[in-house]
């Protein structure tokens, strides 16, 4: 059972205050196994980056009144609380040798281009691709071909970024 610490900085923001210190104090006080649930009057994009660099994954959603709720999950909980990504190893991946921006392509062209690009890569090389949705049909195909991937929505909540590491060369 995940334990949440709630921080509501909406009163501080409405009063014209700066909530960064309040948030970081709460983050630093988190005990292992705890997540942070933050309420703000806007989507705190800079904070997402700051906590992202500290190993927190986030899940941001807009509430009915235009406020935002963001759940920050520390790295030690991510394996069980967020969608698995196909890559279970924690090792560092090399920088991508190829980058594709497939956001404006008609489906299924984004998937076709990723598969075609991965076929030309050496085992261990990494490809990065931007998409406008989670490529649910691509993942089983990558798995069948022995490739691994890591993927998640970007902080904008619209762009899906997937990294594919070419696996062993294997015929279809």
């Amino acid at each position: 059972m995940t334990d949440f610490v709630e921080v509501d900085v909406r009163p501080t923001l409405r009063a014209g205050g700066e909530p960064f210190g309040e948030i970081m104090a709460a983050v630093n006080a988190l005990t292992p196994g705890q997540c942070l649930r933050l309420y703000a009057t806007f989507k705190p994009t800079p904070l997402l980056h700051v906590l992202g660099s500290k190993g927190f994954a986030h899940d941001a959603k807009e509430l009915d009144g235009g406020d935002w709720e963001v759940v920050f999950t520390p790295a030690d909980l991510r394996e069980t609380t967020t969608a698995p990504t196909g890559a279970t190893d924690d090792e560092q991946w090399p920088s991508p040798v190829r980058s594709l921006d497939n956001r404006d392509l008609d489906p299924p062209e984004p998937m076709v281009r990723i598969l075609a690009a991965v076929e030309t890569m050496q085992p261990g090389e990494v490809l990065s691709a931007l998409l406008c949705r989670e490529p649910v049909f691509l993942f089983p195909m990558l798995a069948k071909r022995g490739h691994v991937w890591r993927g998640a929505f970007e902080p904008d909540g619209i762009t899906y970024k997937v990294l594919v590491r070419a696996g062993r060369q294997e015929g279809p």
């Binding site: 969608a83 076709v112 989670e134 649910v136 049909f137 691509l138 089983p140 069948k144 909540g157 015929g171």
Partner: protein, 447 residues
């Protein structure tokens, strides 16, 4: 495995569904059931259930077994349960049709068909809902489109439960005030739960995702799209729960249905605004046949809403309920279903056949599996038939209605042939077929 794989039996669902649609249209051509008979006559009930369960529900289940995993990015709970589910639904429907034929005196009634039909259909719906429900449950919190589908599935459960009660009362297995009252006065609630809740609400949810996906339109969840969900859910809850409770307590559901109608009109207006926005904000300027024909179906849904309001204002609603239901079933749901089926079969066939070799060799595009100008002709013939038939119902001209049904049958036959050609790759240029490398698809099952 993360992601979505091919739903093994969806093609079988689609084939049986299309066969039921063609059979239903053939019955209309020969003058069997409504409008040649009364809307509640046994012959009309044969026709209604052939379309509602045989065509629309099987189509919807076939599509959901494939697309709920896409909506929630989680695999289907079971890829094998859909086959026994299909068998239960088809046998149950066949026996139910037998029950209505007995009721009309067309076949001898040695043993009543209604109870066995109720049990088989009840089990079929329960299995389908269990499989889809488990898939949705493991994907919480659900994205917007999946929440629409969840409400739609709850309405399917309500529809099937009411139908179960009707069947037991019809063959005398159940009696007594609450159940008998529900069987007598609950038919509008049963029809609303099925047509508006299960079929329309689910189609609305899936349309948000599929239209955005195929037109490259923004797919974000907005306060307005959430309002469609809330107003629509409230309308369905008032109609189904309120209506059933009112009948169970010896009252009449009319007041609940009126309130539900108002809430439903709000939901549909907001949905209309969302859909206009989707079409206007699309990045893909030249859209495919499926999106163009879906737009016609959506216009028919708007037509259903406008026609309902006009007829209520003219105090003609109850007299013309048949025309409204007809336009909803054939102009909106069937139109959307055929348009999306045309795309879904092409996409799934392409994925199954060429997916394993994608990126390793030149493969056809999805659009190389279809010939849109040829199919467009059949869609227009179908819609012309629907509009003409609706006019005939409003003007009380049953003979011209049968001629319109010929157009519908001809159009549907043409579309069904096009879909079969797509599945069998008959329109792919031979040099691109590369069947020595790719997998040849079976007509009715996916591997």
């Amino acid at each position: 495995m993360v992601g979505a794989t091919l739903s093994r039996w969806s093609m079988s669902y689609f084939a049986v569904a299309l066969a039921c649609l063609l059979a239903g249209e053939a019955l209309m051509v020969v003058g069997f059931g409504f409008p040649s008979a009364e809307l509640r006559a046994p012959d009309s009930l044969v026709l209604v259930h052939l379309i509602a369960i045989g065509w629309l529900s099987l189509l919807m289940f076939g599509a959901l077994f494939q697309f709920v995993p896409v909506l929630v990015a989680k695999p289907i709970y079971s890829n094998t349960l859909p086959l026994p589910t299909l068998a239960l639904l088809v046998v149950g429907l066949t026996i139910l049709v037998g029950g209505f034929l007995q009721l009309g005196g067309r076949i001898p009634a040695l043993h009543s068909c209604f109870s066995p039909a109720a049990v088989l259909l009840g089990c079929g719906f329960a299995l389908a809902l269990w499989n889809l429900g488990r898939t949705l449950w493991q994907a919480r919190p659900l994205p917007l489109a999946a929440r629409f589908v969840t409400v739609g599935l709850l309405c399917a459960a309500a529809t099937a439960t009411l139908g179960f009660v009707f069947a037991l009362v019809l063959d005398g297995s159940a009696s007594g005030p609450p159940l008998a009252d529900i069987a007598t006065y609950g038919i509008p609630v049963h029809a609303i739960a099925g047509l508006s809740g299960w079929l329309t609400f689910t189609a609305i949810g899936v349309s948000y995702r599929l239209l955005a996906m195929f037109m490259l339109a923004p797919e974000s969840e907005t306060p307005r799209s959430r309002a469609v969900l809330y107003y629509g859910t409230a309308a369905l809850a008032v109609a189904i729960v309120g209506g059933t409770v009112a009948i169970g307590m010896g009252g009449h559901p009319t007041a609940f249905l009126l309130v539900a109608g108002l809430l439903g009109t709000c939901a549909l207006s907001l949905y209309g605004a969302d859909i206009l926005h989707l079409y206007r904000a699309r990045k893909r300027r030249k859209i495919e046949l499926n999106a163009r024909m879906a737009a016609i179906a959506l216009a028919n849904l708007a037509g259903v809403a406008v026609l309902s309001v006009v007829l209520v204002a003219a105090s003609q609603f109850e007299d013309q309920i048949g025309a409204i239901v007809f336009l909803a079933a054939f102009g909106w749901l069937t139109g959307l279903g055929l348009a999306k089926l045309y795309k879904i079969v092409a996409f799934l066939t392409w994925l199954e056949c060429f997916g394993p070799v994608l990126g390793t060799t030149a493969t056809p595009r999805v659009q190389d599996l279809v010939v849109e100008p040829r199919a467009a002709k059949w869609f227009w013939i179908y819609f012309a038939g629907v509009w003409s038939a609706t006019a005939c119902l409003l003007l009380d001209a049953p003979e011209v209605f049968r001629a319109s049904a010929v157009l519908m049958l001809g159009g549907t036959t043409g579309i069904a042939v096009e879909i079969a050609r797509t599945r069998l790759l008959l329109d792919v240029r031979p040099e691109l077929r590369i069947l020595h490398l790719a997998r040849r698809p079976a007509l009715l099952a996916s591997q």
